[in-house]
């Protein structure tokens, strides 16, 4: 980032190449809309580019980057909260998702690949719904913890809370996921 600050355009291209996939994935899991996630990721890079002259390496670059991304995602979710409630968050699970934990018992012999695919799809859908159901800040904490593998200290800075508050937030989030995914958790344990 210091090279970008010095005006090295090539370094910005390297940053783009290195962080575009983690950013798009994080934002996609936050807002659940691919196009919107890409728009937000673009906005993150533009903000990084605009702020390059004022960049001070007081914290890790990833902390700064994901702080921008998290704030953008939370603002975007806030802006579209009512609309999203209608189409996703508060909608009941679809029939096939509700049956997801039952599917492994109904595997048909004739089309094992198709059945297996459907089972996996149902499991993913259930996991996705469980993540979506989390309050936004808990969701961001889980995504940063699980998929970006950031330190607790870094995640706390991104979410602007203390480290102990973050641990408590994460505990509550994983507890909610444990309850929500109980059928799959029970399968995993056996």
């Amino acid at each position: 980032m210091l090279d970008v600050k010095a005006g090295d355009e090539q370094s910005f291209a390297l940053l783009l190449h290195r962080y575009r996939s983690p950013l798009v994935n994080f934002l996609y899991r936050m807002v659940r809309n691919r196009e919107q996630a890409e728009d937000l990721a673009q906005e993150v890079f533009i903000r990084v580019y605009r702020a390059r002259a004022e960049y001070v390496p007081s914290a890790k670059f990833t902390t700064w980057l994901f702080r921008i991304a998290t704030n953008l995602a939370l603002n975007s979710l806030r802006d579209t909260r009512n609309q999203r409630r209608e189409i996703s968050l508060d909608a009941p699970l679809t029939a096939d998702a509700e049956d997801g934990d039952e599917r492994p018992l109904d595997v048909a012999d004739k089309h094992p690949d198709i059945e297996q695919h459907l089972v996996e799809e149902a499991r993913r859908k259930m996991i996705r719904h469980a993540i979506e159901k989390l309050p936004e800040k808990q969701r961001a904490a889980v995504l940063l913890h699980k998929y970006q593998e950031l330190d607790y200290n870094e995640i706390a800075k991104i979410l602007e809370c203390s480290e102990s508050a973050l641990k408590s937030l994460l505990f509550r989030a994983y507890e909610a996921l444990r309850v929500e995914l109980a059928p799959l958790v029970a399968q995993a344990k056996t």
Binding site: F12, A13, L16, H17, R20, S21, V24, N25, Y28, R29, R34, E38, A41, Q42, F45, I46, Y49, R50, A53, E120, R123, R124, I127, R128, I131, V142, H145, K146, Y147, D151, Y152, S164, K167, S168, L170, F171, Y174, L177, R178, L181, L184, V185, A188, K189
Partner: protein, 166 residues
Amino acid sequence: MSCNRMESRILPYVDGRLKLSEQHEVETHLAACAACRVRVNEFRAVTGLLDEMPQIEPSGAFDARVRARVAAEPAKQSWWAWFAPSPRVAFAASLLLVATIWIGSRPGPVDSPVDVASKGGPVIIDANDLPVLENFDVLSNFEPLTDLPQPVPSDDANPQDTNQQM
């Protein structure tokens, strides 16, 4: 260690991010607490389930769109850029300097022969000035002009002066 205190340690324990001493404390508690043992196993199962979520790849046009937006960004000049040498400013400054030197090196305005004569200095007459001087001589010795009344003092003049005249 109590079960309540375990709440802040279960996840770091599952992640393997606890210090060695903390890890021993947790394991001692887990050996004695079945409920926390179950919870640890279920947290592990949850993190395993989250691993099943597929990654997505940014679309092919993503980089191009970011580059296009970066290219469209207006060039941002820092405050210090004001002090950076600019060809236009340097050219303008040079022109100003040359003009100043040229104006400074020019001889000052020459006193007319009339001005010189009024100052009592020696009059050097240029042949080109002769027609003007002739007109000056005619006007300065023009008798009818001497018959004209003296200028009347204005109303603003000091009244004491008026009294004295009377």
